[in-house]
Amino acid sequence: MKAFRILIKNISDGFKSVFRNFSLSLASISCITITLILVAIAIILSENVNKFTDDIEKDVTIVVYIEKNTQQIDIDATKEKIEALRNIESITFTSKEEIRQEMSKDSDGLGTILGEYNESNNPLLDEFLVKVTDTEKIGETANRIKELPFINAVKYGEGMVEQLVKVFDVVKKITFVIVVGLVIVTAFLISNTIKITINNRKRQIEIMRLVGASNAYIKLPFFFEGIILGFLGSLIPIFLTCYGYIFLYQKLNGILFTEVITLVNPDNILFHLSIILMAIGIIVGAIGSYRAVRRHLKI
């Protein structure tokens, strides 16, 4: 009960201090707000980039063209051989006839040209569509398939896919570095705010010491002050990102430029994102005030 009363007292002192130096607190809160908005943007960006990468990786297929006039039995054998390889997720067979019909449907011009052929003189090749589990090893897998008999040619994104994945990776790393930098800067700013509150209250602290307040008792309000600053600073970014992202998602119909690139559904990330933002705010506030209290409250 005693400890509880002291804790309540300390928390309320922290609140009082936030409002007593309101202009200064406002400066820190704005800093946290700006940082967290950037953090939120970075997280949303990287989540979406992750999704793009995943989507693209899922779509990456190796197209395996089979030699002309290969017997059905050999085709089946080849299929089994491919399935036996490592890194194969799925394999589907498409006959040249199916491909011809598909292509005719897709374009009128092509349809006219292909219309001149029939089943017996179809110039196209039968093919397998192979999906791999690990996109990064797609080149290796493609080469393995190429070595098998009855294979005419093997095609995949050749380099393009790998490069795209690499670019996304770099983007993710850069955003991470920027976010970490911003968080550190904010911690320093909070630290400065608390330092000034400490200076303003030097006399009070001296008297507290003289009447027998323990060091922890003197330090706790400042610690809570930092946490409160962090918490208040996280409210606007949470509000902004939630509404902002939902608005953006609806405006863009959930896609970016083409149907191929879909955005992350807000329902899936906003709750986690809010919690992450609030946690970052509070932790940064706590670290900032801890630094200030430790360095400037040598009591």
Partner: protein, 232 residues
Amino acid sequence: MNLIEIKNTYKQYKNGVTALCDLTLSIPKGDFVFLVGASGSGKSTLIKLLYRQEKPTRGEVYVGGINVAKLRNRKVYKLRRKLGIVFQDYKLLPGMTVYENVAFALEIYGLPEREVRKKVMNAIEKVGLKEKFRSYPDQLSGGEQQRVSIARAIVNNPKILICDEPTGNLDPNTSLEIMEFINKINEEGTTIIMATHDKDIVNTYKKRVITLEKGILISDKEKGGYKTNESI
């Protein structure tokens, strides 16, 4: 062991000044001790050792059974909770009322509000400021402000009241008034150690007088008077 026990204590400041030299002294419970001496005689240093504002360079200082010389900074509050301290410059917080200033000393114990109010009003009544408990320090006279600081010092019923020139900023009449309160507190059983320059007070009250000169104890007399140049 006496309430305060000082054994062969030296205090040398970092700038080389020796403030106390081989001081040995004991003060039993309930005593009223005047600490006199010219400026720079070391009486302020001695007072500061008692509430662990300074640490002795050498020797042992026991206050209420706690070895102040070995007390770690983190644990200082344990000593301070046994003490009440009154300063020459009152050390009141200007933004707080009389009541809040006194209650400030109790906040740290996390007592229920009812109990805090009872103790605070009790202490304010003792120093005769019941009517002014809502006033702010700058609305009070010097003597009244000092009474507030005494109320703050005794609100927790300390065993020892340490006064560092409590009448230094006050006129003679007000000083005597303050002394009455301090004397009353002593009669209720609190040990008083008071550093002072005020000859009249020391000579009027006829208490134990400890005289320091250049950091050396030159006299310690029951019912003594203020020494100037007369021989001991």
